[in-house]
């Protein structure tokens, strides 16, 4: 059996990263110029990596599917970014951030990776401030912090409700500087179609020029995947319309392991679904749970009256409201982690206490804070979020409580990587949400931005050198090599196969069908039966796609329907992988909740004896079941226990 080597450095936890850096191989400046690195994606991870590698002197090729690197979906992150600065003097430390993240991930993340993440978190804040990121400040001129779910300290730095935007624009400005210097060559409106592997090493990519529809070949001594998560498998999610998991699936089909695909995060505070034509879901930042209180009516009659439109939430007196998070989790209250808050909302709605026209919503109420601190303070904190809610729902959250419901938001699973962020294919790296490494089975709020930037600014620029140091004698390869031609040929064949179907269904209609299966059977609560049902239903969707999809237009032209079709063909495969992984993991942990495995009071029940490992799925060929490899998770510094937020 193949052994998984995660390459975790020796030594005590707190010294592993320093030890690694002290003994790793480096590339000298003259050699850096001769080495090409392909970075796919320009979000927080991709842009920060491309910029940093360019600054170091490597020759970087950077790709994005949008018209500009600044559009990457990191831009939509609202709430903030964590760091262990301990500026508020409330007891934070690198160890505490590490511990909260491990615990938040329900003891399913790698200790060494998470510790490193906590360790470099402070440098990220310094870097962003130096770039001109306008974080919120106190009157004294120093940086302000807010609190977030799963933590008892205030360690979250923020820029209004637009933190992701500001951090991404910071990374984008650093990237732009390198582009102007010529160290990074940018390709916008290009989509990666496959990775080219030569003698077992990643040596380039095939990309489709989305303007012309033509395939092009690019060589790199190393390839970095920074293409984000696969949440759009569910069709409706908080991801951008273009967010996709295709690059990850291309790597998977070339032999890279896909780790923990079933760990998907369902975010508790999104605007509820309102109609069949709906194209995406909008998140309301977790930071709102700092001041908003979540409730449903105590009496079923009241909930029914509200659903029928006969009663308004403001008419329900205080003692007739069930603040169920405060009731169930007094220690963390409304700030329990996302998986816990989502399940609690579903529990209340399933029990018949949900509100809104569909009964699939709970209230997030700001009346108490507005009375206590005044409307101005609330507006300063959350103004843009309130405005966004008003524009979408046409109700004023200053006057009436917001309605929210959980939605797919983030995927903790992803391409398997070792401590160096290298996948199981040599020279192929994965960073940010695209990899699986740091969040275990559940990610804490404000930690995605931290991980993306940690990987791009402070981890990959070191670890990739340990690989490239042995590549300094490898000359740039011609893209006329057989491996390039064959890979391009296979991509071309796939495209022509899709174009030739000429069926009767639109890509979106099939994607929606897949999404409903995923939400109903592989969503917030899963069972053996539901997952088996999902696997059967996904096979039918796959058949429907490959026999009945219709793509108008030509393949060698700008063709949006073809772009979507290629992505959906991969979402179908990911959906299958998620269901398979969820079926095999006979326990509940973090975002993965199996109804069969819960404690007496409905909390996730882990089985550490049997499932304390990373599930790595290996591709075995089209139509064949993937095989499972296990990377054991060994905890040296924390004691595994049942998560308790009470």
């Amino acid at each position: 059996m193949t052994q998984i080597n995660s390459k975790i450095p020796q030594g005590p936890l707190a010294q592993k990263w320093s030890n690694y850096k002290a003994s790793q191989k480096l590339v000298n400046p003259a050699n850096k110029r001769r080495l090409d690195i392909i970075v796919v994606g320009t979000g927080l991870a991709g842009a920060s990596a491309a910029a940093s590698l360019g600054e170091l002197g490597f020759n970087v090729l950077n790709f994005c599917i949008q018209d500009s690197p600044r559009r990457a979906h990191s831009i939509a992150a609202q709430g903030g970014i964590n760091a262990a600065k301990n500026y508020p003097n409330d007891g934070d430390s690198v160890f505490r951030l590490f511990y909260d993240t491990i615990k938040g991930g329900d003891y399913r993340a790698r200790e060494a990776n998470v510790y490193r993440l906590a360790e470099v978190s402070n440098s990220i804040i310094d870097q962003c401030v130096a770039q001109g990121v306008p974080f919120a400040r106190e009157y004294g001129g120093l940086l302000d912090n807010r609190s977030f779910g799963g933590a008892q300290v205030s360690r979250t730095f923020y820029a209004k409700g637009q933190t992701g935007q500001q951090l991404l624009l910071g990374a984008y400005s650093a990237l732009s500087r390198q582009i102007s210097k010529g160290s990074v060559k940018l390709h916008t409106r290009y989509e990666m179609m496959d990775v080219v592997v030569i003698d077992g090493k990643a040596r380039g990519i095939i990309a489709r020029n989305l303007r012309t529809g033509r395939l092009e070949r690019f060589f790199g001594h190393a390839v970095v995947i920074a293409t984000g998560g696969y949440g759009n498998t569910f069709f409706l999610s908080t991801n951008a319309m273009g967010s996709n998991g295709s690059a990850a699936m291309q790597c998977f089909r070339k032999g890279a392991y896909f780790a923990n695909p079933c760990y998907a995060q369902i975010h508790p505070t999104c605007i509820p679904v309102h109609g069949e034509f709906q194209s995406k879901l909008t998140l309301m930042s977790e930071s709102l749970r700092n001041d908003g209180r979540i409730w449903v009516p105590k009496k079923k009659e009241d909930a029914e009256a509200i659903r029928a439109g006969k009663m308004k939430p403001t008419q329900i007196p205080e003692d007739e409201r069930d603040y169920y998070l405060e009731r169930r989790y007094p220690a963390f209250g409304n700030l329990v982690p996302r998986d816990v808050a989502s399940r609690a909302a579903k529990e209340r709605c399933d029990a018949g206490y949900g509100v809104g026209a569909t009964g699939l919503a709970v209230y997030l109420d700001f009346s108490e804070v507005i009375n206590r601190l005044g409307r101005d303070v609330v507006e300063a904190r959350y103004g843009n979020l309130f405005q966004m809610y008003y524009k979408i729902v046409d109700e004023d959250p200053y006057e009436t409580p917001m309605m929210i419901y959980p939605a797919i938001h983030y995927t903790m699973g992803g391409i398997w990587v070792d401590y160096e962020c290298m996948t199981s294919i040599e020279g192929l790296f994965a960073i940010g949400e695209a990899n699986f490494s740091d969040h275990g089975a559940n990610r804490l709020g404000a930690s995605a931005l931290m991980q993306g930037l940690a990987d791009g600014y402070f981890v990959l620029p070191y670890t990739i050198q340990n690989y490239l140091a042995d590549e300094i004698r490898t000359p740039r390869m011609s893209t006329e090599l057989t491996e390039f031609a064959e890979t391009e040929g296979a991509v071309q064949a796939r495209i022509q196969k899709i174009m030739a179907i000429k069926g009767n269904r639109s890509v979106d209609s099939i994607h929606k069908q897949l999404g409903l299966i995923m939400w109903d059977f592989v969503g917030m609560s899963r069972t053996k039966e539901s997952l088996q049902k999902a696997l059967d239903a996904i096979i039918q969707v796959k058949h429907e796609f490959w026999t009945n999809v219709f793509i108008p237009g030509e393949s060698e032209d700008l063709n949006v329907e073809l772009e979507k079709a290629l992505r959906v063909s991969d979402f179908i495969e990911i959906g299958e992988l998620m269901a398979r992984d969820a079926l095999h993991r006979e326990e509940s942990c973090g975002g993965h909740f199996r109804l069969e495995y819960q404690t007496g009071d409905g909390e996730a029940l882990r089985d550490d004896e049997k499932f304390s490992y990373v599930a790595c799925w290996k591709y075995e060929g089209d139509g064949k079941e993937p095989s499972l490899l296990k990377e054991p998770l060994i905890y040296e510094s924390v004691h595994m226990q049942q998560r308790n937020y009470k």
């Binding site: 940093s52 949008q66 018209d67 500009s68 600044r70 559009r71 990457a72 979906h73 831009i75 939509a76 600065k85 500026y87 440098s123 804040i125 310094d126 870097q127 401030v129 130096a130 770039q131 001109g132 306008p134 919120a136 400040r137 106190e138 009157y139 820029a159 209004k160 637009q162 935007q165 500001q166 984008y172 400005s173 650093a174 732009s176 582009i179 102007s180 940018l186 916008t188 951008a240 319309m241 273009g242 309102h274 109609g275 034509f277 709906q278 194209s279 995406k280 909008t282 998140l283 966004m388 524009k391 979408i392 009767n504 639109s506 979106d508 209609s509 219709f550 108008p552 700008l558 949006v560």
Partner: protein
């Protein structure tokens, strides 16, 4: 209760950058007023696919008003008739039953049409590349709290930094000027001590690039500010002018 409306759309169709475009008329019935403008276009595209026709191409991505990818000139307004929103957050409740809606791409020399309603805004990236950054490299920077910045300045910088780079300001301007876009970045960085050092150089480089790329001059009509989905103020243009003058005086 869900309300629906019937609408007529006149949409600009153009095969490619060099092709001659024209308006085409489409009829859509029973559109929910709760759907967004782009969801309405999704419904139209779905209909076109069922008729085996090519779909209407338009840029969009996050659909929550922050990525800046969506555009569209709707009934004579960039991002349509609603205030302070991008097209993706414009909802059909802002239109009347039986209304005719005219949809065009951004029209500006700086933003050539790629196909239908999709335009090339690469010029904005080039302007940022000319100097829209602080020249720091990764690592070796001081502690984040080493330089206190007054809350007032930080908030003002944040307001400028909220620009999403959508290009509505250019589309709204009769001169096709990118001054508000340039000013927002120059102003954000000039307000902060970290960015002050390069302020003049930055203003000069970005303005020169803007001119080179074919954007027009600013004649202070204020159309950009009133159409900006993020309310970026033209007071930033005044700050840009100050930085630009300072730079010129030094020459």
């Amino acid at each position: 209760m869900e309300k629906t409306i019937h609408i007529t759309l006149k949409i600009w169709r153009q095969k490619g950058p060099q092709a001659k475009g024209a308006f085409e008329t489409y009829q859509l019935n029973n559109i929910s007023t709760d759907s967004s403008f782009l969801e309405m276009l999704d419904i139209l595209n779905e209909k076109l696919i069922s008729e085996k026709k090519e779909t209407i191409v338009f840029d969009h991505d996050c659909r929550e008003g922050i990525c800046g990818m969506c555009s569209l000139y709707i009934n004579g307004h960039p991002h349509g008739p609603d205030e302070d929103v991008t097209t993706c957050q414009l909802h059909m409740r802002k239109f009347k039953d039986g209304e005719t809606i005219i949809v065009e791409p951004w029209r500006s020399r700086g933003f050539p049409v790629i196909k239908d309603l999709m335009v090339d805004r690469g010029a904005f990236d080039k302007i940022i590349q000319a100097g829209g950054f602080i020249s720091v490299t990764t690592g070796g920077v001081p502690d984040a709290n080493a330089i206190p910045i007054s809350k007032e300045k930080a908030d003002e910088a944040m307001d400028a930094a909220s620009c999403i780079g959508c290009g509505a300001c250019v589309a709204a301007c009769k001169n096709g000027s990118a001054m508000l876009f340039v000013a927002a970045k120059v102003s954000q960085l000039a307000l902060l001590p970290q960015g002050k050092i390069e302020a003049s150089r930055r203003a000069k480089a970005m303005v020169a690039k803007m001119d080179e790329l074919g954007f027009g001059n600013c004649t202070n009509t204020g159309a950009c500010e009133s159409e900006c989905p993020k309310n970026v103020s033209i007071s930033h243009i005044a700050r840009l002018n100050r930085e630009f003058l300072k730079a010129k005086l030094k020459d």
